[in-house]
């Protein structure tokens, strides 16, 4: 018996040691062994560098909606080209159909909201950042505010009714404003007024936080934020603010591209990130933009003077005598959509003109045109009466900002100002018309959004 009890004791002791050993094996490794990253390229963003890296995603940012370009009247397409368009949405948009999104592409909405999401993730990481909140921190925060506002600005121009001059914009539907990266946050449409308030708030914060310059031109700067601000003020008919923001931006961003100094005959006269580009962003690509059956509206071509270098720089003549758009300031085949020096000059000129400060307006107009006309023949515009000046500024706007989708924004606001522009096009023998202030100036929200979040659709 003694033996047995001794044996049992021994067994117990041995088992005890064994268990201790096995357990200690567990303790030593659990913490460190499982800390290893499963995929070396993954990161939970916490540092400022992580945030910068997210904001440097030019596939998300630096890309913007394309359908407004197709819907406006700058170009037309042959019947054969129309048939060959890759996505039914392009045909439906070109002819202002009731719901162009049936074809499936909803990038103009989805991809822009991805920008809002990325910006919100960046702001969220920054709000939890425990390190020193230095200039780099401010730049990143300003960048995120700017990028979010720029996205909202694209969305509101396409998916909300135009800001109404002299009406109650708090009763008009705006877009969905997202406050946080939480994907479960309830989704509702704010009012148009709230939307613009948010845009102004974000942009003003961005102006106060961003540095004057940044490299490369995909990253936001103070001048860029001011430029976007001036665009937003134009949309809301706040001309003095628009003019001043543009003016300030042009003071900060002092580079100028004189078309006399480039080879306007080259098939691609512009280089990416050249002086003209303040903020680099390009339009989403659809087959419409690549079609060789798309030609420039001939009445628009007629507006270009022979000494206007933009005619040669922007366009090539096709074999049928029509003009095609080849010289894009993106420097490649993509349509530029960001902010350029030209736009700011024209924003300032229009703003001052509408304020009644014709002299200031003319100064900005002449400064721009000197960079655009053949210097050999260029004579500054001496005097024009107020309405002629405004008309000239708006005409230069069409000529300068061709192919960027900005015309849609202009049509929406100019018709509010009583421009009375009716768009007409003929496709395969059928005539289509878009009357001023038509509900079809507001795109319907893609079905996926409507069915999944239940937000209200736009009337068409």
């Amino acid at each position: 018996m003694k033996n047995i009890s001794f044996q049992t004791k021994l067994i117990k002791r041995r088992l005890g040691i064994l268990l201790t050993l096995v357990c200690s094996l567990g303790v030593f490794s659990c913490s460190e062994f499982l800390e290893v990253k499963p995929d070396q390229s993954l990161v939970v963003p916490t540092t400022l560098e992580d945030v910068q890296s997210m904001l440097d995603n030019t596939n998300i940012f630096n890309a913007q909606p394309v359908l407004p370009l197709i819907a406006s009247e700058e170009v037309w397409i042959t019947d054969a080209g129309f048939d060959a368009l890759g996505n039914p949405i392009e045909q439906a948009t070109f002819t202002w159909q009731e719901d162009p999104f049936l074809g499936g592409f909803a990038g103009d909405w989805n991809s822009v909201y991805a920008q809002v999401f990325y910006s919100n993730v960046a702001l969220d990481v920054l709000s939890k950042y425990e390190g020193e909140r230095n200039q780099f921190y401010n730049t990143l925060q300003g960048s995120a505010y700017f990028l979010r506002a720029y996205a909202y600005l694209q969305l509101v121009d396409q998916f909300s009714q135009p800001f109404q001059k002299g009406a109650d914009n708090s009763r008009i539907l705006g877009i969905v404003i997202k406050e946080s990266p939480d994907v479960n946050e309830p989704i509702r449409r704010s009012s148009l007024l709230e939307t613009y308030d948010q845009i102004f708030e974000d942009l003003n914060l961005a102006v106060s936080l961003l540095p004057d310059r940044a490299e490369p031109k995909t990253r936001p700067t103070k001048a860029i934020a001011l430029g976007a601000l001036s665009r937003a003020y134009l949309n809301t008919f706040r001309y003095p603010e628009a003019a001043n923001a543009a003016k300030e931006a042009l003071e900060i961003y002092s580079d100028r591209l004189d078309f006399n100094n480039i080879n306007v005959n080259a098939s691609r006269p512009f280089v990416r990130f050249d002086q003209e580009t303040i903020f680099y962003s390009t339009l989403f690509s659809l087959s419409f933009l690549r079609s060789n059956e798309v030609f420039v509206d001939s009445t628009l071509m007629d507006l270009y003077d022979e000494n206007d270098l933009r005619k040669k720089a922007f366009f090539d003549r096709a074999s049928n005598g029509q003009f095609i758009y080849t010289g894009k300031i993106s420097g490649d085949t993509r349509n530029f959509g960001g902010l350029s020096v030209g736009e700011l000059y024209l924003n300032a000129a229009e703003g001052f003109s509408r304020m009644g400060e014709d002299g200031e307006a003319l100064k900005f107009l002449n400064e721009l045109l000197a960079l655009r006309y053949d210097s050999e023949f260029w004579e500054p515009i001496a005097s024009l009466n107020s309405s002629e000046l405004l008309e000239r500024i708006l005409q230069e706007r069409r000529k300068e900002l061709f192919g960027r989708g900005l015309r849609w924004m202009d049509l929406r606001r100019l018709n509010q100002e009583g421009a009375g522009i009716t768009l007409v096009r003929e496709v395969k023998g059928q005539r289509y018309e878009l009357v001023p202030n038509s509900l079809r100036y507001t795109f319907p929200i893609p079905m996926d959004e409507i069915t999944r979040s239940g937000i209200e659709q736009n009337p068409r």
Partner: protein, 1071 residues
């Protein structure tokens, strides 16, 4: 770890002397016929009443005083016997038991990867395949050999097949990791199953329920397949076995692909040309290629050739058919050859097995081949009077493949289009001919004249110019130690190192079309007529290397004790660690000179103008990529079974898994899972007196398995990318939005099983009912895009599967002439129980659109993979337009039909995967001959046929052969359901037809899967002295359909194609 083992060994060794008081009585129990060790045989000492059960190695031992004892031996299905022994023994006992005339209760040994248990000690659901069954089928791949011989297992042919090629009792996860866990020699296998030589496999055990599989915890959710490799046997003379077979497989029949015929294709090209369709392409800035017919029509229009010449040429084109040329020049009968030599044997304390295998595959495409060499060496040693066992094993595989890049898969017209059907690969004399490809011929010629490289595409001349060679070396080393610390208590230590090295390289020589095309594209013509090469001339060399390795280790304690009162306990507990790392690198060299092995640098950053499009520019393609992945697992596990008098059995199992999940809080890195089971051998009860069925056992189990989706995180995670062509600055992509509620998937399984056997042993079987509930399943649900994501992945679904598996073995005729049958019947009903979001109706309707399924679409109350359709009324008798239903009324407003479709208005046909399947295998034998045929069936499911889509046809890109069956004149609607050719492209009309119920077919079918005819010389050793055993066999596979419900010529599982028939001849010799 090493020190730990050393300490344990030292500890254990010291115990030996203390037990020396009583004398040791030990030995082994074997099957007297087959010499197999018997695990779980019961030995009782009559004098003392002490009982023991043989362990995993068929061994037992007692401690007894000196004297004479009677040992009573019994084992289910064997004749009981008694032997008298005198203690002390001179040498360990070697006891033989002989089977009863028939075997009662199955005696198979089931391997779980942690232990081997006799069937009698199992409460869970196991399927065991023995060597004979594994070897029945001829294939180089192990998984194929499981099909239609494993109850409850099915090879999926539809729906997410890439991630989910095999299902065991349905699919209880939505996620990415839906494959069963494969365990080889006790450790999960990380390599490719193609690297396992089927000839080295001794048995396969499939673990189907929680009690069987929960020892594998969080990796067992989809079932576990445990593979055990062959070993040498104790006290066996050297045994040499050779197997060899050659398998001829018919090539793919290109005529089965439902493509537009040559005449229809050319007619359409002519029609489109008449409509001016090609004008846009003619003016294309990218000089996009046009087909020979279109080029001919252009030449005629422009007066380059006369109308009659053109007509003549086109008439000539109509006589060509690419499919004939494919048969003639590219396809051939595939020949797979397999040879394997194994040598095994063993002495008292050492057993060994060494094997060498060689496989050679001559692929069906000319110029492609692959081979594989496998080597294995396994040694088992026993020391310290058998108390210490050491196992070592080495497995190595080297596989190589050569692809000469000349197959039908390389025949393209342009990046987006397939080759025109009247392409001609060679002329009457067999001289290879050029085809139109990528750019227009005139344009190519113009550039060739100024010095560009020859730009012609001659597919048959391409063979050998762009060889892809791939090689994979895979090896693993296993080391096992087990030591009997105390009677009944054994310590096991296992370790495995696995490594896989893969290399893949393609050298596109400068003569290859690929290189010429790429170089020409980046060649610029300067003003002075000189050529600037963006990409240097020479070969393009693509390479990729991958290396993976893993360390796995396990320490485990086994305890076994039998009490006199009839109780027995088997328990094990241990811990396991695993670390897996894989790296992959790939890249490309330009201007490669194979003779000197030199390459040239290129400028990846600048934009180069493209020679074929004056308006486009591009960077030189950069294929450099690298990644590094690390998986780590850490687990604790325990398992025990308590039995009473062979009658009652309780099993318990638990496991906790932790893994290096990324972006989750530390407490979310692990999950505990458990299971419990009950076994009741009713036939052992005293009250049991059903003589016809002398063996009846009831099994009941319940528990949880798990499934881990390693790609998800609770925190926001981003992935870095290294190159941004616009800014040259690295950037990151957000891969997961924040999800604080992330949990592990769990699968709750209940199983009820009945095992029975008739008195004569002629009928035996197993019937099981089960319920699997997938809880907290991770699924992707569509999300409102304004949230910034359009798909959200999280724990948002649950599923339930109810099913049964019956396997019934009968011996119908016994005697000189034998006839036996095996019937496997499985049925299951899968349904989604909850899913947080309603799925998009259009996605549901698109399932199976391309003939072979697609992703899952969870709909509550329906299986994961279902076939849905829009109601179909018929064809409009006046126009041939398809008619659907809109708000309950017949309608041709296709756009509205599609856009207003709701789940309620769709027709739900049924599951897209078989809900009832099985096989019926019959074997007849007479003397040395045996003939076995397997008939398989699949019932209770539907599939969608593809048909014509005018969208592509009206763009001159070809289409479906149903075009020729289309409605053309009033009255046709009585004989066809193919809509008429519309005036203009109408995507909604196409979509409506594609999604309509008229294309849905019933998948039910029965096919004759295979036949095997064998002749074996069993006893020839005595007569000729040449072999112990010799078998010659013929095996024919994929023999054809016996019956199918659908009237269409589609195969429900293979679409328009057919599984390729094959016939093999083989020998198996044992010397």
């Amino acid at each position: 770890m090493k020190t730990l083992i050393t300490i344990l060994i030292l500890l254990a060794l010291s115990s030996h002397e203390i037990c020396g008081q009583s004398l040791k009585v030990n030995g082994t129990v074997r099957d007297g016929k087959s010499d197999e060790l018997l695990i779980g045989a019961s030995i009782r000492i009559k004098e003392t009443g002490i009982g023991k059960i043989t362990n995993q190695d068929g061994e037992f031992s007692f401690e007894l005083e000196k004297g004479i004892y009677t040992l009573s031996l019994s084992y289910l299905g064997y004749k009981s016997s008694e032997i008298i022994v005198e203690v002390p023994l001179i040498k360990p006992l070697e006891i033989q038991l002989f089977p009863e005339a028939f075997e009662l209760g199955q005696v198979e040994v089931l391997a779980t990867g942690y232990q081997e248990i006799p069937r009698s000690r199992a409460s869970g659901s196991f399927v065991n395949l023995n060597e004979e069954l594994i070897d029945r089928r001829v294939s180089t791949n192990l998984i194929d050999r499981l099909e239609d011989v494993t109850s409850g297992l099915i090879l999926n042919r539809t729906g997410d097949v890439g991630r989910d090629p095999v299902s065991i009792r349905g699919r209880s996860t939505l996620g990415r990791f839906s494959q069963p866990l494969i365990v080889i020699d006790n450790f999960p296998y990380d390599g490719s199953l193609e690297d396992i030589n089927p000839n080295d496999v001794a048995s396969i055990t499939v673990l189907r329920d929680a009690a069987a599989a929960s020892i594998w915890g969080a990796r067992a959710g989809n079932g576990v397949i445990v593979i055990t490799t062959k070993s040498g046997k104790v006290d066996e003379k050297i045994r040499v076995s050779f197997t060899g077979n050659a398998n001829w497989i018919e090539p793919t029949d290109p005529f089965l692909i439902p493509n537009l015929g040559v005449n229809d294709y050319i007619d359409m090209e002519e029609r489109l040309f008449g409509q001016g369709f090609y004008r846009t392409l003619e003016n294309d800035r990218g000089n996009a290629v046009l087909s020979p017919v279109v080029e001919t029509l252009i030449a005629a229009r422009d007066g380059v050739i006369s109308e009659s010449e053109a007509a003549g040429q086109i008439a000539q084109f109509r006589t060509y058919d690419l499919r004939n040329d494919l048969n003639r020049y590219l396809y051939r009968t595939q020949l797979n050859q397999q040879y394997n030599l194994g040598i095994s044997g063993g002495g008292n304390s050492h057993t060994y097995r060494v094997s060498i295998g060689y496989d050679d595959i001559r692929e069906e495409v000319e110029g492609n081949s692959s081979d594989r060499i496998t080597f294995s060496l396994k040694n088992d040693f026993k020391f310290l009077s058998d108390r210490l066992k050491v196992q070592t094993a080495f497995y190595g595989v080297k596989s190589r493949a050569l692809d000469q890049n000349a197959g039908p898969g390389d025949l393209f017209f342009s990046t987006f289009s397939e080759m025109y059907p009247y392409a001609r690969l060679a002329d009457e004399t067999g001289q290879p001919l050029p085809l139109n490809r990528d750019y227009r011929n005139g344009f190519k010629q113009d550039l060739q004249e100024v010095g560009f490289l020859d730009w012609s595409y001659v597919p048959l001349a391409e063979r050998g110019r762009a060889d892809t060679q791939s090689e994979r070396n895979d090896w693993r080393v296993n080391l096992g130690l087990s030591y009997d610390i105390l009677p009944g208590l054994r310590l096991n230590g296992l370790y495995q190192y696995w490594e896989n090295y893969g290399r893949n390289e393609t050298i596109y020589s400068q003569e290859s079309y690929f290189s010429r095309n790429l170089i020409n594209g980046f060649t610029g013509l300067s003003q002075d007529g000189r050529l600037n090469y963006g990409i240097p001339r020479g070969a393009v060399y693509n390479w990729s290397n991958s290396r993976s390795f893993s360390h796995s280790g396990r320490v485990q304690l086994d305890y076994q004790k039998d009490w006199d009162q009839g109780w027995s306990l088997n328990a094990l507990a241990g811990t396991e660690v695993k670390s897996l790392e894989s790296t992959a690198l790939s890249g490309r060299y330009y201007g490669y000179n194979p003779d000197l092995a030199t390459s040239q640098v290129v400028d990846y950053v600048s934009l180069f103008p493209l020679s074929f499009n004056a308006f486009a520019n591009s960077r030189i393609p950069n294929t450099d990529a690298q990644n590094l992945l690390r998986d780590r697992f850490y687990s604790f596990f325990a398992n025990s079974s308590i039995g009473y008098k062979n009658r009652y059995l309780i099993t318990l199992s638990a496991r906790k898994d932790a893994s290096n999940l990324f972006g989750v809080a530390a407490n979310q890195r692990s999950v505990p899972l458990w299971s419990a089971g009950l076994g009741w051998t009713i036939s052992e009860e005293d009250f049991y007196d059903w003589e016809a069925v002398p063996y009846l056992k009831l099994r009941l189990s319940y528990g949880y398995n798990g499934n881990v989706d390693r790609s998800l995180t609770a925190f926001t995670t981003a992935r870095g990318t290294s190159f941004n062509p616009i800014t040259q600055i690295p950037y990151s992509i957000i891969v997961n939005p924040p999800n604080e509620n992330l949990r592990w998937e769990r699968i709750k399984i209940s199983n009820l099983g009945i095992d029975f056997e008739s008195r004569t042993g002629r009928v035996k079987g197993t019937l099981e009912f089960y319920r699997k509930e997938g809880l907290d399943l991770i699924g992707a649900i569509p999300y409102a895009p304004s949230s910034g994501i359009s798909v959200f992945t999280g724990n948002n679904a649950s599923t339930r599967t109810n099913g049964y598996d019956l396997s019934l073995e009968t011996v119908n005729i016994q005697g000189k002439f034998n006839w036996s049958s095996v019937l496997l019947i499985s049925g299951l009903k899968e349904e989604v129980v909850s899913y947080e979001q309603e799925v998009n109706v259009n996605s549901l309707l698109d399932f199976g659109i391309n003939g072979l399924g697609g992703n899952y679409f969870p709909v509550v109350g329906r299986p994961l993979f279902g076939v849905y359709a829009l109601p179909w009324i018929g064809l409009n008798p006046d126009t041939g337009n398809p008619i659907g239903l809109l708000n309950g009324e017949p309608s041709e407003e296709y756009r509205d039909i599609i856009n207003t479709a709701e789940l309620e208005s769709l027709i739900y046909h049924g599951s897209a995967r078989p809900t009832s399947f099985g096989s019926f295998r019959n074997t007849v034998s007479y003397q040395g001959f045996s003939l076995s045929a397997n008939i398989s069936y699949r019932f209770g499911y539907f599939f969608r046929r593809s048909s014509v889509q005018y969208e592509t046809i009206l763009q001159g890109r070809g289409g479906h052969s149903d075009y020729s069956l289309r409605w053309q004149n009033p009255g046709d609607e009585l004989s066809t359901s193919v809509p008429s050719l519309p005036e203009a492209r109408n995507p909604f009309r196409d979509q409506f037809y594609r999604r309509s119920s008229v294309l849905v077919e019933n998948g039910n079918h029965i096919r004759l899967q295979d036949i095997r005819l064998a002749y074996s010389l069993k006893n020839s050793a005595k007569e000729t002295g040449l072999f112990r055993n010799a078998e010659f066999y013929l095996y024919a596979n994929n023999l054809g359909m016996l019956w199918k419900a659908t009237e269409s010529d589609w195969d429900p599982d293979f679409g328009p194609m057919r599984p390729r028939r094959s016939i093999a001849f083989g020998v198996q010799l044992d010397f």
